[in-house]
């Protein structure tokens, strides 16, 4: 479960695109070791929130603290260096590369050495390559995608692409994993597999996970806490059961009329 100082703190963050206020004074925290679900209607700003954390957008007000230090204005590669990895709504795999290479790219930050050593291959470069290959193969085993490791990523069906993208994020051994609709477009079986992977990652490696998800069943099963966004604002924050019955949430999102309990 969650203990100690939060891993990530979002404090009063607001993001604007021209005249459009995408996020308005959003504050939340992600605690170490937990699985946090971020839900809300379309256009609520969920992906924007992830993008701010990833460093693609900078908020015009508010702060982001990671492990207690201010990290508001970092560029994406620096955010990656902190130990934050993510997947995208539209699957941002490198279509021209094989599955294996895609996941190996996730190891990039862990790979040391200069291109001069790489040019010679035999020696430190080769040793390192093999070490990382061994690590990536463990991820491939974990995600059960051995059969497709040499297939170019562009040729895979959507569900498998999402799995490969998860693999690439895991390869970085992240402290915080951000998943943007990891189960979109999947059938029931694939969703079950994905849930299992997410839970395993959280339990076995202790990775903190924040995921955007629309399937309420998944959210209830998987998450420790839920944050609800609507029109760029946070409207609820708490354990799944509490959020499920919160009237503000029901109004905005779940669409169930109030019943006298």
């Amino acid at each position: 479960m969650s203990e100690g100082r939060p891993l990530l703190e979002v404090q009063g963050v607001s993001v604007r695109f021209g005249a459009l206020l995408a996020l308005s004074r959003v504050s939340l925290e992600i605690r170490r070791g937990e699985i946090l679900a971020i839900i809300g209607p379309n256009g609520a700003g969920k992906t924007t929130l992830l993008n701010v954390i990833s460093g693609f957008y900078h908020p015009f007000e508010g702060r982001l603290l990671f492990e207690g230090r201010d990290r508001t204005r970092l560029a994406p590669p620096d955010v990656a260096a902190l130990g934050i990895a993510r997947t995208f709504q539209n699957v941002a795999l490198f279509k021209g590369m094989s599955v294996l290479d895609n996941i190996m790219t996730g190891r990039l930050l862990k790979m040391r050495g200069s291109f001069l050593l790489d040019a010679v291959w035999f020696g430190p470069a080769r040793r390192q390559e093999l070490e990382h290959r061994a690590f990536v193969e463990r991820i491939i085993d974990f995600l059960e995608i051995q059969a497709i490791r040499k297939t170019p990523a562009g040729r895979l069906p959507y569900g498998l692409q999402k799995r490969v993208e998860l693999g690439r994020a895991l390869a970085a051994e992240p402290k915080l994993l951000l998943l943007d609709e990891p189960m979109a477009g999947m059938n029931v079986e694939e969703k079950e597999d994905m849930c299992r992977f997410i839970l395993d990652v959280n339990e076995e490696f202790g990775t903190t996970i924040a995921l955007i998800e629309h399937d309420m069943g998944v959210v209830m099963d998987v998450s420790d806490r839920v944050v609800v966004l609507d029109y760029g604002r946070k409207i609820a924050d708490g354990p799944p059961a509490a959020v499920r019955t919160d009237p503000a949430v029901l109004d905005a999102y779940l669409g169930v009329s109030h019943e006298v309990a």
Partner: protein
């Protein structure tokens, strides 16, 4: 003279000889408008099909070659013009069939490279059909200069400028006011959405490439009358690229403004600063100017900012 004063001396010269400077400017404007004519063809095609048509220059050349070739075989000018126009339309149809349709879903860079291939093919083909010697293109406008308000002005260049102006105005109206123009803008924005609205993509593309071909005829006539119809014309395509960078790839007025900036810039640099470094600055000035521009404003003067959604 120290290097700094050598660099600054031309400014003195400009102030002291305003008439000459005006002539250089006018020459630059005229050259710039010629570039704009070529750039217009690019813009049309890019606006409507998203294709960066590297072959625009060779299309200008091909148009000029055909026209001259027909005239040499005895066809009177009006007939030759009509036949050339038909040839360019046929070329557009051919290009749509052979190049655009098979590559319709590919990345823009692939289409760009395809137009490079097209360029080489048309260059060889044009030479095959019409021979490789330089030809004179006489459209009845003398290449001579007249003094206007004490400044020397070239008749041919002025005609070209006027033609370019008329063409641009016509095209601007076409895009903004007519139904086809609107359809073209829709297609440029989003092929699939346009398709789903029932806009006939193939017809549109043929129309656009044909219009670009016709613009090419005009450009070819102007260039050919000025410097003869020869293969260096296809190099003009390369010069049009900096014009497009300055003016933006999708803006018709931008093509003009870009052309003017490049034309004037080039001429001024060559005349005033060229002698300092041995001349021939024109070979690279336009590109370096475009490069400097891109560093400051990657989308050009009139272009649209490319926003990538994550």
């Amino acid at each position: 003279m120290g290097p700094l004063s050598a660099l600054l001396a031309p400014f003195q010269d400009i102030v002291q000889n305003p008439t000459f400077f005006a002539e250089v400017l006018i020459g630059g404007v005229a050259a710039g408008l010629m570039y704009s004519l070529v750039a217009l063809g690019f813009v049309l095609i890019f606006k409507a099909s998203g294709v960066f048509n590297f072959a625009q220059g060779v299309m200008v050349l091909f148009a000029a070659l055909t026209l001259v070739g027909l005239m040499e075989r005895g066809l009177p000018v009006p007939a030759a013009l009509v036949v050339t126009a038909l040839v360019m339309v046929a070329l557009a149809v051919g290009i749509e069939r052979a190049v655009l349709r098979p590559l319709v879903n590919q990345a823009p860079i692939i289409l760009f490279m395809a137009t490079i291939g097209l360029t080489f093919f048309l260059e060889g083909f044009g030479e095959l059909l019409w021979g490789s010697n330089v030809k004179r293109l006489d459209v009845g406008i003398p290449d001579e200069s007249v003094k206007v308000a004490g400044v020397l002005v070239n008749k041919l260049e002025m005609t070209a400028a006027l033609t370019a102006g008329i063409l641009v105005a016509a095209l601007a109206v076409f895009f903004q006011r007519t139904r086809i123009g609107r359809a073209l803008r829709a297609v440029a924005d989003d092929h699939e959405a346009a398709l789903s609205l029932g806009i006939p993509l193939k017809t549109i593309w043929v129309i656009v490439w044909a219009v670009a071909g016709l613009v090419g005829i005009v450009a070819g006539i102007m260039w050919g009358a000025k410097s003869g119809v020869q293969f260096s014309l296809s190099l003009i395509a390369l010069k049009a690229l900096p014009v497009l960078i300055l003016g933006g790839f999708t803006s018709v007025p931008g093509a003009i403004v870009g052309g003017l900036i490049i034309g004037v810039g080039e001429k001024t640099a060559e005349v005033y600063w060229g002698p300092l470094v041995g001349g021939a600055i024109e070979n690279w000035f336009a590109y370096v100017l475009a490069l400097a521009f891109l560093l400051v404003r990657p989308q050009g003067l009139f272009g649209e900012r490319i926003i990538e959604r994550v």
